[in-house]
């Protein structure tokens, strides 16, 4: 995904030198188009190089050869590679992303269904991660070398090294099986799975729209555990980065000046130092959020969470290229979108950028 970011940054730099708003927009659109084209081309080629026969997903292993041959032709796989790609791109330009072989649905419909599941989980995880990670990082920084610092470091280290698969199952075993604090795998209890008609696709919001508080709390009790587990990983990262940014700031001369002027330590740490730390921290948070939005496959498998990660992985393993390409576009757009958002926040937070 770093290619996307780089490309996009190039675009922005060029855009800065452009004169006039129209040129800026044009350049932006152009660079986005190039980015997406490149993304699709590479994904398409990788998909076709994979030693997986895409026809198998459509007809199964036991179909007679004649059916296999016919479907292969219907899927356009007998055409040269460049022609297949050309057909795909021209369909995409007309807004047609094709049908998924695995689900018999238009790819866009599938993505509209699976992406909100991931979005909901990633957003909640990021909120938890930020609201616990930043204080933990600050706390560690102001107690550098003392036990709170060590505690945060150990938690951070564990967050980076424990396999999420194990943590997820243990979480279920303890908090669902033994303690009964949260609900089990799935976005709702199995019995309710077909109760909610997706409006936004975000279960926490859809249940509220329908005004069913029982279902809302059911959805909350289902999302808490997977969100907390994902949050743990972003928390670990955010706390570590906060700590090192804070240490850097606290050794600056303006902090010394502030202390000399007699400003309270509380204000120095939370207003002066943290205020400056927020600027680079926004990028860190944005990156971790964007990573979560790709969908965490293992978490989605353990928690039977039908999200984007599972969808793309499953499609890729079946060489269901329409679905893979559609998913890739979404992931690319998410990265670009989150990057832009972090740029905007950066400008708002950094007084120098405001000028």
């Amino acid at each position: 995904m770093s290619a996307v970011k780089r490309n996009k940054r190039d675009g922005r730099n060029r855009a800065r030198f452009a004169s006039g708003p129209t040129a800026t927009v044009l350049r932006l659109v152009f660079s986005l188009a190039i980015t997406f084209f490149g993304l699709l081309l590479v994904t398409f080629l990788i998909g076709r190089v994979l030693p997986i026969d895409p026809v198998l997903a459509a007809v199964g292993d036991r179909a007679p050869q004649a059916v296999y041959d016919r479907v292969r032709e219907e899927m356009g796989l007998n055409l040269p590679l460049w022609q297949q790609f050309f057909i795909y791109i021209s369909n995409v330009l007309q807004g047609n992303f094709g049908q998924s072989v695995l689900t018999s649905n238009p790819v866009l419909d599938d993505i509209k269904r699976v992406f909100p599941a991931t979005l909901e989980l990633a957003t909640l995880a990021t909120i938890i991660g930020v609201s616990l990670g930043i204080p933990a990082g600050v706390f560690a920084a102001i107690n550098k070398g003392k036990w709170p610092d060590h505690v945060v470091r150990v938690i951070g280290l564990a967050g980076h090294s424990i396999p999420i698969f194990w943590l997820g199952l243990m979480g279920l075993l303890v908090f669902y099986m033994k303690l009964d604090w949260v609900a089990g795998p799935g976005r709702l209890d199995s019995f309710y799975v077909d109760f909610i008609e997706p409006t936004t696709g975000l279960m926490l919001i859809d249940t509220l729209i329908e005004g069913d508080m029982d279902l809302f709390w059911n959805a909350v009790s289902h999302i808490v555990l997977p969100a907390s587990i994902l949050a743990y990983f972003s928390l670990a990262y955010i706390a570590r980065m906060t700590r090192s940014f804070m240490l850097e700031q606290l050794s600056q001369e303006y902090i010394l000046t502030a202390r000399v002027k007699g400003i309270s330590e509380h204000r120095i740490i939370w207003r002066h130092a943290l205020g400056n730390v927020m600027v680079p921290l926004v990028t860190v948070i944005a990156l971790s959020y964007a990573n979560l939005l790709e969908g965490s496959v293992l978490t989605e498998i353990i928690f039977a969470w039908p999200g984007l990660g599972l969808y793309i992985t499953n499609s890729l393993l079946n060489a269901d290229m329409n679905a893979v390409l559609g998913g890739t576009i979404v992931v690319g757009a998410v990265f670009i979108g989150v990057n832009m958002l972090s740029d905007v926040l950066y400008r708002l937070l950094d007084p120098r950028a405001r000028r």
Binding site: L56, V101, L132
Partner: protein
């Protein structure tokens, strides 16, 4: 700061508060966790996947069915009775009166004729099950037709064994769809195929409520079902891929049945009194396919040696733990003519002397394409360890399911470890893949398992064809026993196990039915205490 504290408190509260009390599932609903992500379509003319077949088996009626415990007993479902003409080429079915589709339309012989024609006209993966009786898109409307509302006639091209024709009609392609409803959704002459892929037009004990691909499938009872309405008013199937998660849901009582527990989970629930197991021998076989393009594997002595080099008992008891039984012939137990003797067992000394006779006293090196799931990898590793004892160096090449299969289908493997499920209940289904290979060239028109392993089946091909025309069931069974013995001795297959399906259920669930194939797993008799 205040905001952070608030966030911290909120986060902790969310993560720790007991949010809701757990309740049992309702008494009149059946809730299952089942890996149903293999369903790609709901059209019975296209369904060829395990869980798709189970869906069709519970929502559509077929002309005829068989007794799950004694498959030789074929009974009428939509067909009340049937006759076979003297020459064995004309089948006449009398259609039951008073059956209604979910749409309210009456089910007539015309619907049945349309449904069978539609299978041939759409020509999807399972179409050959009917197509093998000489039906083509050009002639099917003359060969399968209704003479009046209650009479369906089917003319086959040769005097086939009646059991062969009837068994094929018990398969999913025999499902009767609502002609009027389906044609109302026809687009560009597709016979309603695009629509039926995600919709429903049947007359079965359950009807489709909602399918969300890869997530869930829910059914509601057909209150007007001609053979009695099911006790379960709703059936909800949630797709849960991870077996450990299924186990937790079951032990907690959030679901009634877990369908995909593996050895670890089955062992750990064995002490739980709230849970009971139901098992049924299925038709699927686990086997090794030995490519005859490989110089070592094409040696008959080597093939024979390898059949003595599998720890059948150990794998069956520990790795597959109750989910299989040892079975070495190509017809699964329960099929007409199945040969249930298992002549091979682990015998290192015997294998060593066979390898020496073959000229490889010190073994050789060979690869095995292996799907990277827990139980298949474990089987492969057991085989690897056994073979090492006679000097055969087995390299396991792990890959995802579709990846190993792609290689196998292109005949690029040395050894493939796989699973084969029969397409329908007649012995011809497996005979025509294990013992039949009319053209062993790379661009053959038919590519059965024998072809994939580059094995020229010789006169077995003709014998297999002949068995479909033997109208005496006892003689026919004997022909299949001969075929199986021949393949056991000479074939490029080390057939090891026949699969057993295990459903793990809460103690209050009764009468869940598992049949020999997935389209005979029935929900309609289920009751809950």
């Amino acid at each position: 700061m205040r905001k952070f504290i608030a966030g911290l408190v909120m986060g902790t509260a969310l993560a720790t508060a007991p949010l809701m009390a757990q309740a049992e599932t309702p008494k009149n609903a059946l809730v299952m966790a089942f890996a149903i992500d293999d369903i790609i379509t709901l059209d019975p003319a296209q369904i060829f996947e395990f869980s798709g077949a189970e869906y069709a088996g519970n929502t559509y009626d077929r002309l005829i069915g068989f007794d799950n415990d004694d498959v030789s007993k074929i009974y009428g479902v939509i067909a009340e009775s049937w006759d076979v003409s003297e020459d064995g080429k004309t089948f006449t079915f009398k259609i039951r009166d008073g059956i209604e589709f979910a749409s309210g339309n009456d089910l007539t012989a015309e619907d049945a004729a349309f449904s069978l024609q539609r299978v041939i006209l759409l020509d999807q993966s399972p179409a050959f099950i009917l197509g093998q009786f000489g039906f083509t898109a050009d002639n099917v409307k003359e060969k399968i037709y209704a003479t009046d509302d209650s009479t369906l006639v089917m003319e086959v091209d040769q005097p086939y064994a009646p059991s062969f024709v009837l068994y094929c009609l018990t398969a999913g392609v025999g499902a009767v769809v609502d002609k009027e409803e389906v044609l109302a959704h026809e687009v560009d002459g597709d016979l309603g195929h695009e629509w039926l892929k995600t919709n429903y037009a049947g007359s079965g004990p359950f009807k489709l409520n909602k399918w969300t691909a890869g997530e869930s499938l829910s059914l509601t009872a057909n209150e007007d079902y001609w053979d009695g309405a099911p006790a379960m008013k709703r059936v909800i199937i949630q797709s849960v891929k991870e077996a450990a998660a299924q186990q937790l849901l079951l032990e907690k009582g959030d679901i009634d049945i877990a369908r995909n527990l593996e050895a670890d989970q089955l062992a750990s629930i064995s002490g739980n009194d709230d849970i009971k197991l139901l098992s049924k021998g299925k038709g699927a076989l686990w086997y090794l396919g030995l490519s005859q393009k490989n110089e070592y594997l094409s040696n008959p002595k080597v093939r024979e040696a390898l059949k003595y080099l599998v720890d059948y008992k150990g794998i069956s008891e520990t790795i597959l733990a109750g989910r299989s039984q040892i079975h070495q012939a190509f017809l699964p137990e329960g099929f007409l003519g199945a040969y249930n003797e298992n002549p091979y067992s682990l015998d290192i000394e015997k294998a060593k002397s066979l390898l020496a006779e073959a000229g490889y006293p010190d073994g050789f090196s060979v690869t095995m394409d292996t799907r990277n799931t827990t139980s298949i990898m474990a089987m492969a590793q057991s085989i690897q360890a056994t073979w090492a004892q006679v000097g055969i160096n087995l390299e396991i090449i792990p890959g995802d399911g579709k990846q190993t299969l792609t290689k196998y289908r292109a005949r690029q493997h040395d050894i493939y470890i796989g699973r084969w499920g029969p397409d329908y209940q007649d012995p011809h289904t497996n005979a025509s893949t294990f013992a039949w290979n009319p053209d062993n060239s790379d661009d053959a028109a038919a590519k059965p398992l024998a072809w994939r392993n580059s094995w020229d089946a010789g006169d077995l091909t003709a014998k297999t064809d002949a068995a479909t025309l033997e109208r005496d069931d006892a003689k026919r069974a004997a022909m299949y026993v001969d075929l199986q013995k021949d393949v056991l001795e000479n074939g490029p297959f080390v057939i090891m196990f026949q699969e057993t399906e295990i459903a793990s259920m809460r103690g209050n669930v009764n009468n869940f039915v598992l049949g020999p194939s997935f389209d005979n797993n029935y929900y309609r008799y289920v009751t809950k205490d």
